[in-house]
Amino acid sequence: MMSCVDNSLHQAANSTFEELGFMLPDRELSPRQSEAAVDAEVSVVFRGPFEGYLVLRMYGGTLGVVAMNMLGESEAPAPALQRDALGELANVICGNLLPAIAGSHEIFRLDSPQPGTPDPAAAPAGSTLVSTACIGLDDGRAELALYATEAISPTGGPA
């Protein structure tokens, strides 16, 4: 059974891919989606009532499709724009996820998205994996991993 945090992560990701990326997430992965190769990875460090980072990886050429949809173009944009799109997706997912966990009265500060996982010097020390999500998109998928410096209770918020 999914925890509250898992639900929040799925909901934030699904709504972002639908409303920003104009893609309908699949509930379950097909073999093709499961076996797709990675396109790119980005992370967003956040600070506030609790600290941590969110990692977003996209697979199977999905990043090119999402970026194309976001820009309203008929072909996949240049790699630099695709990376920018990936960063913005992670930024929006993170920005919607954190108040869903901590409550709308809390204020978080999000760093600019960075390629890959955070530099150890930049990442909040002691961050551990809290929640993951895997969403089927087109011929590929998106994988998300939330890391935080303190335990988040299954119902959300710092433990």
Partner: protein, 142 residues
């Protein structure tokens, strides 16, 4: 009347999405300026006449809220129409921004939501837009 617009966001893709939505909204656009952070945005305002600014909050160098403060402190830009386009969900922060005269659109946004807020801030009505579109030479002039 054409509106000069400034879009401030550290994501070039998001700036492009906002500008595309503005163009599709039917709002008569003049010059469209872009900036990657609040400091660059203020430089743009120093150099150009702008009628409407759309700002993100979380940006490097200078964030959107600080930029709003600087805009309101400057007599030349004090009355600028501002729309915040952000993932910000803190009630405290949103109310603070609204108290500074900014409208707020939450990311991710349906295009029609941004359109509605922009039309409210600029005072352009749908009737006026339809009138412009249907005028001789307008898009609906067959």
């Amino acid at each position: 009347m054409a509106f000069n617009v400034l879009v401030v966001d550290d994501s070039a893709v998001m700036r492009a999405m906002v500008i595309r939505t503005l163009r599709l909204s039917g709002l008569p656009l003049g010059e469209v300026y872009q900036a990657g952070n609040g400091a660059e945005g203020l430089e743009m305002l120093d150099q150009n006449w702008v009628d409407l600014a759309l700002l993100d909050i979380n940006m490097p160098v200078m964030d959107g809220e600080t930029m709003v403060d600087r805009i309101r402190e400057n007599p030349a830009t004090r009355d600028l129409s501002i729309v915040i386009v952000s993932t910000e969900s803190s009630d405290t922060r949103i109310e603070r921004l609204r108290a500074k005269g900014a409208a707020f659109v939450h990311k991710p946004f349906p295009p029609e939501t941004l359109r509605e807020v922009v039309l409210q801030m600029t005072g352009v009505s749908d009737d006026e837009l339809c009138g412009q579109l249907a005028a001789p030479g307008g898009e609906l002039d067959f």
